[in-house]
């Protein structure tokens, strides 16, 4: 379907745009900037500020170009060619400034404020207004993150429209009327949206300010770089601002292919970790204690420990693509081991292998645009708002455009108002997905999901989150559901480095490009570049590595940007492993809880100090750029790996980032993928032997990595630990909402405040993975689900219980 085109002139210049285009957008195409405050290309027009007047030939009244659409042959005149328009804009600016406080010298927005810019460009030099200005109490904290200065507000409603139309978190609203109109929030409420910071960025004046940035800098005091958020696989494009060497702000950059114009609050406000005081930027080597040393010495020591020994590598999802590639290569070539893993969940299977191949192959992947344009979307095992927040916004956008969305998850997500949820008890996902494959389900959420996918065909999307990786088949069944209906499929990991690490082969079985180490043909393609691989037996995954370590079957364990004590879903196993490995090498920004264990520490450069790439969940590699040099003696991870190869008497074969990239390009470029018969056999309805299934995943804001120093963010959005249980299950156990319960698993027990809610599948209980005061991995045995029992605890008993975890307090 070709879209009807409309040709018109603006200031005498001809332009052709699709029918329905707003005049203001058409003008932009000609490079004509019409002044505006309330207009935002991603929000619905409001026509509120009245700054964007244009004249349309033959029309007596001026038009607001942000609300009026083009018409064939229309002759538009902007302020550039119409005196009337220019005068109207000056007059409107005079209106806007009547009550504006003009406290620019102390306003965070000063220097980058549209109102200031326009006043400067063509505002009246002097005010004719001699009366007293409107005053309000200020600033009003809307949350620990967002402060509101009502005097500066121009009532453009961008912030409230964002909350209504984009995030769906309608915490703030315009109240009252006339000159008393103001942005407000319900009494006693906090602006508890994980997207609240976007309102600050799109506020055209300094009315909404960020607490972490309040009075911190003037724009001319900043040096900036365009880079990518390191927090999750969404890959939001950010502008990172540094003042005197310190990161002081993240702002969203517009990229309609990725993050539109948005960031989540974690991406925006968790920026202090590179400057955290706990960061260590010199190499350390254990002598009596951990002693500062040089890279040369520490590398030599590691070489001595490792030669001919059993070595394993664990990493999180935080490595940049180049680092992951270097790690994959150094482990296999210099250390001759396939015991390396970046995962915490262990999907395995075809879906994962496909994902590894698909990273560089658009034909096999899903993009944000695909999501946006989809007609039907099944989101399985993913709480997008908490795990990949910008994908959550895209799903909401898709819903606004008419997509039918179905969420298969054990917990209702914040898509509740735009999607149909099928709550399934953990372990049941494969079975439910199987019904979609078979087109079963009838008049139920599952049946409707199957129908919707089938009707959508190529406009269908299946997104498989990490909850599916808990079940050996679930992701594969999801893939099959997609194949059956013609939908596009993607595995959606949460962390920024996950897809890149998968593609690079930081994986016990997969080499770069998803090639299997035990498949001679595929292996040969890698060997053509890397040289012969001496170890061709698939290695251990993360869990097996820790088990082997605990059994003293590993001599040297590399912990690269990962802390198994906190990150691995079995705290006890992680501790045993660390206790039983002779040499632990920690490569990270800081030591954290690994300090007592580390035998060597290799300081890594932080992301604002790096030139590298992160690959989004879609498979889009995006460049991150340095805004400053590596702190102290720290180095980019890939350089450290190159050093390790030398210490082992070899070489990675590249001395520069460019060389590395050139080498990896060949191995990571698209290649044919034979779908391979999946090991899929009918998953069948699950039988549960456990009373309840406990499941957990990390919430967006928690005690996890890279949130160090983000105190305002945590004050605003970090929740205390809680346990969610379905009313039916609660009733059986006489558990009352708001009380406390004791949850027991094979691994441990804890006393936690309880929330009784129908927004969780019957038979399941949820605890967040890593809220302050409860490390859920003390309840786990290597997986993110566990059989559990839950019982009510009387208040007095809870208070007296010595085993009770301090909730909300520090460690």
């Amino acid at each position: 379907m070709t879209q009807e085109a409309v040709t018109l002139t603006i200031d005498g210049k001809e332009v052709t745009v699709p029918k329905g285009t707003l005049i203001i957008r058409a003008a932009e195409q000609l490079g004509i900037e019409i002044p505006r405050f309330c207009d935002h290309p991603l929000l619905e027009p409001a026509g509120a500020c009245r700054q964007c007047y244009v004249e349309v030939e033959g029309q007596a009244k001026l038009f607001t170009s942000c609300t009026a659409t083009v018409a064939p042959g229309m002759a538009v005149r902007t302020q550039n060619s119409s005196e009337v328009v220019h005068e109207a804009q000056v007059a409107n600016l005079e209106f806007l400034l009547l009550n504006h406080p003009l406290d620019c010298p102390i306003c965070d927005r000063g220097g980058e404020c549209p109102l200031q810019d326009q006043a400067l460009a063509f505002g009246p030099g002097e005010s004719r207004y001699v009366e007293a200005k409107r005053t309000f109490e200020k600033p009003i904290p809307l949350s620990p993150l967002v402060g509101l200065d009502r005097e500066r507000c121009v009532l453009c409603a961008r912030c409230t429209r964002f909350c209504d139309q984009i995030s769906g978190d309608r915490f703030i609203e315009l109240f009252a009327r006339g000159a008393g109109e103001r942005v407000s929030i319900a009494a006693g409420e906090d602006f508890l949206s994980p997207f609240s910071g976007n309102t600050i960025q799109i506020c055209p004046v300094g009315a909404l300010t960020a607490t972490p940035y309040r009075f911190v800098a003037r724009p001319f005091d900043l040096s900036s770089v365009d880079t990518v958020c390191p927090h999750c696989s969404a890959g939001c494009n950010v502008k990172l601002d540094v003042r005197r060497g310190k990161v002081v702000r993240h702002l969203a950059r517009d990229n309609l292919d990725v993050n539109d114009a948005w960031l989540c609050d974690k991406g925006r406000f968790a920026f202090r970790f590179p400057d955290d005081e706990r960061r260590v930027t010199i190499p350390l080597l254990r002598d009596r204690g951990l002693e500062p040393t040089s890279f040369g010495e520490v590398m030599d020591a590691i070489g001595d420990w490792s030669r001919g020994k059993r070595v394993a590598f664990l990493t999180g999802g935080r490595l940049a693509d180049e680092d992951a590639y270097a790690l994959s290569k150094v482990a296999r070539t210099a250390f001759v081991t396939n015991d390396l893993d970046h995962r915490r969940e262990f999907a395995g299977g075809e879906a994962e292998r496909l994902a590894a191949v698909a990273v560089t192959d658009r034909a096999l992947s899903v993009t944000y645009r695909d999501v946006e344009r989809a007609k039907a979307i099944v989101v399985a095992g993913l709480d997008a708002e908490q795990e990949v927040p910008i994908l959550h916004l895209r799903l909401r956008k898709a819903a606004r455009r008419g997509a039918r969305i179905f969420v298969l998850n054990p917990r209702r997500t914040r898509l509740w108002d735009v999607a149909e949820h099928v709550l399934c008890r953990p372990g049941q996902e494969a079975h439910v997905l199987e019904q979609i494959v078979d087109g079963e389900g009838g008049d139920s959420g599952v049946g409707r999901a199957a129908d919707a996918l089938r009707e959508a065909g190529e406009a269908g999307v299946v997104l498989a989150g990490m909850r599916l990786a808990e079940h050996p088949l679930a992701a594969d069944v999801a893939l099959r559901a997609a194949r059956r209906t013609g939908a596009r499929f993607s595995l959606v990991p949460r962390r920024a480095g996950d897809k890149g690490a998968l593609a690079a082969g930081v994986h016990p079985r997969l080499l770069p490009g998803g090639r299997r180490v035990d498949d001679p043909g595929e292996r040969a393609e890698v060997e053509a570049v890397w040289g012969e691989l001496k170890n061709v037996v698939p290695g251990r995954n993360a869990k097996q590595i820790l088990e082997a370590a605990a059994n003293r079957e590993i001599d040297v364990l590399f912990l690269v940007g990962v802390d198994p004590l906190r990150d691995f879903p079995d705290a006890r196993l992680a501790r045993h492993a660390l206790e039983n490995v002779p040499y632990k090498v920690v490569q990270s920004l800081e030591l954290g809880s690994l300090e007592p264990f580390a035998d060597a520490f290799l300081p890594a450069a932080a992301f604002p100090e790096r030139d590298a790439h992160f690959t989004t969940w879609e498979g889009r590699a995006q460049r991150i750029r340095p805004v400053r040099g590596p702190a102290g003696l720290s180095r980019p991870d890939w350089e450290i790996f190159a050093g390790l190869a030398r210490a082992m008497g070899g070489s990675l074969g590249f001395e520069s980032l460019e060389d590395l990239q050139e080498e990896s390009v060949g191995l990571l470029s698209p290649r044919a993928f034979s779908g391979g018969a999946s090991a899929w056999v009918g998953a069948g309805a699950p039988q549960w032997i456990d009373e309840l299934t406990l499941f957990t995943y990390p919430l967006l804001v928690d005690e996890g990595r890279l949130s160090e120093g983000a105190s305002e963010l945590k004050a605003a959005l970090e929740e205390k630990p809680f346990l969610e249980i379905h009313p039916v299950d609660a009733d059986k156990r006489s558990i009352a909402d708001g009380g406390e319960v004791r949850v027991r698993t094979q691994a441990g027990q804890a006393v936690v405040p309880v929330r009784v809610t129908p927004d969780i599948a019957e038979g399941s209980v949820f605890v967040p993975f890593n809220q302050p005061g409860l490390a859920a991995n003390t309840l786990l045995s290597g997986r993110f689900t566990a059989g559990a029992t839950v019982e009510a605890v009387a208040a007095a008993e809870a208070a007296a219980d010595p085993e009770r975890l301090t909730v909300g307090g520090g460690p």
């Binding site: 007059a91 005079e94 209106f95 009366e131 009532l155 409603a157 009327r177 006339g178 000159a179 109109e181």
Partner: protein, 444 residues
């Protein structure tokens, strides 16, 4: 035969919709029916909906809520193939200063409105209609509710009304007290439970109104005319008023007159007749100074305009508007600066706050006018008032702001000298309030 005397229900005057105001029985459904009420509805139900629309189109009836849009044409804009429900909303928010005809129409004969509403609903195939009652109209809200109950009891509303197969539910809805909720899109927002702020048009309510469905919005007086048109025909209706403004208009006359009140006169009747014959002339025999023909949002006229006909075209030609048909009369002892200040205070209070020129402009205007009235005006203030008018008019999001400009520009046009006197003398020439220039000069 004189068409004016040929109507049903014993019409013997020039009045159509206030003709029964002397008869208290028509307040209840029984009296209304005994007086011939609901005959228009029955007639309509026997016709095809399209024919009802055609008939109303043919009558030339124009909206009485202010804009004067032809009612039948409005109904014909309602698309019938959207798969969505169609709504009719009666606008009973009547908040325009000086306007109180809707209120009395409901006070005296509420079923006339319900009958018109039912006919409108039938014409556009609507099964759910609303009556949006101004928040302050506590009593009228009760009247409407009771009348609706009576109509349900008697089968004029509800399932299969009047034995036809047409169903209609009517829900009275009380507003919360905001002038802007009389503006049709503000009204729709309010009815949906949102803030009373106007919506972007297009889409127009006829296409996307209440709950994004096709919606007809009509004023109380407009709807009250409809049963009579059904009963007596389009030609009969055109026998009243002028060619382009057929029918009558109920004028609310207030201010400095002997007999304030509502008077129904044929469109085109000169203001002099309304003022002198109906309202008893200016209070105490004083001289007329200024008057609004259609409420405070229409530019004021003066004694020069006594013979202007009260209809859409004549008033427009005279530089004003018919508006809601509400004459506020000022006599020679009234200060127009004070009048303008009070009216602007109304608009500043009622501005919904959404758009800049209205929100800030009315705020500014009140302050400048107050200063002038208090004798603190400066010569620079007159150009500011001039600019204010120019910079608000047709620049705002909705017509509320244009209404606010009317008192500014019309008083500046006709009574500039009075403004200048305030500034020159440093006090209000009528009340004497203000420091006065001489005092200031002595002091300095």
């Amino acid at each position: 035969m004189d068409p004016r005397r040929a109507g049903g229900r014993g019409v013997t005057t020039d009045r159509i919709i206030t003709r029964n105001w002397g008869n208290p029985d028509v307040f209840h459904v029984d009296g209304y029916v005994a007086n011939g009420g609901y005959a228009g509805l029955k007639k309509a139900l026997a016709m095809a909906p399209e024919d009802v629309i055609e008939l109303v189109k043919g009558s030339g009836l124009r909206g009485r809520g202010g804009a004067g849009f032809p009612t039948g044409v409005k109904w014909s804009f309602v698309p019938q193939d959207t798969g969505k429900p169609t709504y009719v909303v009666c606008n009973f928010d009547e908040s325009e200063p000086g306007t109180f005809n809707n209120r009395e129409l409901v006070d005296r004969e509420p079923h006339q409105l319900l009958e018109g509403l039912a006919i409108a609903a039938y014409a556009v195939r609507c099964h759910n209609a609303y009556i949006y009652v101004r928040g302050e109209f506590l009593h009228q809200g009760t009247i409407v509710r009771r009348a609706v109950e009576e109509a349900y009891d008697r089968g004029f509303l509800g399932k299969g009304i009047c034995g036809s197969d047409f169903d209609l539910d009517v829900v009275p809805h009380r507003g919360a007290g905001a002038y802007i909720c009389g503006e049709e899109t503000g009204l729709l927002n309010s009815l949906e439970g949102f803030r009373g702020q106007p919506r972007q048009r297009p889409p127009f309510p006829a296409v996307e109104g209440l709950y994004a469905s096709p919606t007809v919005i009509n004023n109380v007086e407009t709807l009250c005319n409809v049963p009579h048109i059904l009963e007596n025909g389009a030609d009969w209706f055109r026998g009243f008023g002028t060619a382009k403004s057929p029918g009558t208009k109920v004028f609310s006359v207030s201010g400095k007159v002997e007999r304030p009140g509502n008077y129904e006169v044929p469109m085109g009747t000169p203001f002099r007749v309304l003022l002198e014959e109906h309202a008893g002339g200016v209070l105490g025999g004083k001289a007329l100074k200024a008057w609004t023909p259609g409420g405070s949002s229409t530019p004021m006229l003066t004694a020069e305009h006594l013979d202007v006909g009260l209809d859409f075209e004549s008033l427009q030609a005279a530089g004003s508007l018919l508006g809601t048909g509400a004459a506020i009369v000022l006599d020679e002892t009234d200060c127009v600066v004070e009048a303008a200040r009070r009216l602007l205070a109304f608009y500043a209070h009622e501005s919904c706050g959404k758009c800049t020129p209205c929100r800030e402009g009315t705020w500014w205007a009140v302050r400048v006018l107050s200063r002038i009235e208090e004798g603190l005006g400066r010569p620079e203030d007159l150009p500011i008032m001039n600019d204010l008018g120019r910079n608000i008019l047709f620049r705002a999001f909705c017509p509320l702001a244009d209404g606010a400009v009317s008192p500014i520009t019309s008083t500046l046009t006709y009574f500039r000298e009075e403004y200048e006197a305030h500034v020159r003398e440093g006090r209000c020439p009528f009340t004497g309030s203000g420091p006065g220039r001489r005092i200031e000069e002595v002091a300095s």
